[in-house]
Amino acid sequence: MVRVGGFIVAVTIALALFGPVLSPYDTSSQELARRLEGPSAGHPFGLDELGRDILTRIASGARISLMVGLAVVSVSSVVGMFFGSIAGYFGGRVDDVISRVIDVLMAFPGILLAIALVAVLGPSLVNVVIALSVIGWVGYARLVRGQALRAREFEFVQAARALGANPGRIVLRHVLPTAFPSVVVQGTLGMAGAIIAEASLSFLGLGVQPPTPSWGTMLDAGRSHLFDAPHLTIFPGMAIALLVLGFNFLGDGLRDRIDPKMQR
């Protein structure tokens, strides 16, 4: 599972890095006379409603998807680890406050809050990352809080405390590393979640704005051409589904490797 997932992700990264460079077309160069033309030797995925090469735009869209995924996972995991570890390690009032905030955010349907935030902040790539991180950190915080609660009782943590190490150092050097493997798994699955969420927001017109190629906006554009040019819908959607499947495989596989209880 890890191998299949890793392969799909690696191919997508290569496509994102080299695709737009190697392609003979530009993401915005148009051949208006050939607009909506289906797949051919020169354009394996066909041309879109403005006569732009779909494969080139998918390769460029992969950059957006991977960048958004990476940004959202980085921001939310760092914020989540920070609040989760102090809530779990210090307990008491701090924990109460952080846990209540987590409860409220968990009670909110995630994508709805993201839609609401982007709706008021305005549609843009940066705002999509902000919105998805605002809902994303909660999962990491809850995970790390649980791990920190356990780690607090470990002998090496108590030894560090007895030796007079300051709390910041204990959390950073001893508590967080115990939570790190789970965070990596959560982050890998989080990539899949963030990629779907970005595509959903862009599909609704609330994410990346045209002419920047995003898989979600490409699908949105395909909606008005279901009858005359279904390839506008088929290829970008396939890219999303494959990459999401890749990250899910990778995350599930990593979890099985890290947690021996899951192995059968």
Binding site: V101, A107, F108, L112, I115, V120, L226, I234, A241
Partner: protein, 306 residues
């Protein structure tokens, strides 16, 4: 049970208050002046000032928050800026369509998932299991904003069996319901399989077989019934995902429900309507989770809050 019920209900209050506060805060996150944003660049100063008064934006923040909350208690969500009618009226008008779509999607999901899960469990490790679980995996990985248009291409464009969008006849409901129900169906099928496999290992199933019951009867009469408990919980918990899924599904198929109303309100910068829709969907979500918890407590008497 009553103590559990009271505690669970009391715990919902701070969550609801938190949700309401978040929704209230939204309009104040609008960069610059919300009234200016709603009216657009070319608006006159007087128009902006009168809209600010109408929305109550000229009052102190705490006073705005107070009247927002007291409005909520009275079921007053304010007035839609675009339609100039109460937000609650708009929601009431669209709600039946969304409820119909959500129910149909859950129905579709259950009808597909349970037989699929049973077949997978019974033929564990063999071809039918692999086929059923591959279908389920595809259902989970395919985003609904791709599945929907793909099905429209196949069933509406090529085969011409179903209408591509709109409402009116039961045929209009098929594509949106299947699109919305697919992911849930996949989750339920996997859950049914796992839960049934767990039950099949139990001694009472062996005892039933020893008493001479056929394999099918032992599975359907005994193991399947017990395996349903976690499945029912998942159905309840996934209702939230179905509810938010309506936003995209309604947009794909131009289905006149709450989700589409929300997206249109966002496009028109009709912030009171945006707030109202988000609040309504969130509160329904919280209520459904509460209901699931309580039902679970009823189904399995061993579950207690403390």
């Amino acid at each position: 049970m009553s103590r559990y019920l009271v505690r669970r209900l009391l715990l919902t209050i701070p969550v609801l208050l938190g949700v309401a506060t978040l929704v209230f805060a939204l309009i104040h996150l609008v960069p610059g002046d919300p009234a200016q944003a709603m009216l657009g660049e070319g608006a006159e100063q007087e128009e902006i000032a009168s809209l600010r008064t109408a929305l109550g934006l000229d009052r102190p923040l705490l006073a705005q928050y107070g009247s927002f909350l007291s409005g909520l208690v009275r079921g007053d969500l304010g007035k839609s800026f675009r339609y100039n009618t109460p937000v609650t009226e708009q929601i009431r008008e669209k709600l039946p369509n969304t409820a119909l779509l959500a129910m149909a999607a859950m129905g579709v999901a259950i009808v597909f998932a349970i037989p699929l899960g049973i077949i997978a469990a019974v033929y564990r490790g063999r071809a039918p299991d692999h086929i059923a679980m591959t279908i389920a995996l595809a259902g989970i990985s395919m985003p609904n904003f791709w599945l929907g248009p793909l099905m429209a291409i196949l069933f509406a464009v090529y085969l011409g069996w179903l209408p591509v969008s709109g409402t009116g006849t039961p045929a209009h409901l098929v594509l949106p319901a299947v699109t919305l129900g697919a992911a849930l169906s996949a989750i339920l099928a996997r859950m049914t399989r796992a839960s049934l496999l767990e039950e099949l290992r139990e001694l009472y199933v062996l005892a039933a077989r020893a008493r001479g019951l056929s394999g099918t009867r032992a599975i359907l009469r005994h193991a399947f019934r017990n395996s349903l408990i976690p499945v029912v919980t998942i159905i309840g918990l996934q209702f939230g995902a179905v509810l938010t899924g309506t936003i995209i599904t309604e947009t794909i198929f131009s289905w006149p429900g709450l989700g589409r109303l929300l997206i249109q309100a966002i496009n028109y910068r009709d912030y009171p309507l945006v707030q109202g829709c988000i609040l309504f969907i969130s509160v329904t979500y919280v209520a459904m989770n509460l209901l699931t918890d309580l039902t679970y407590g009823l189904l399995d008497p061993r579950i207690r809050y403390d």
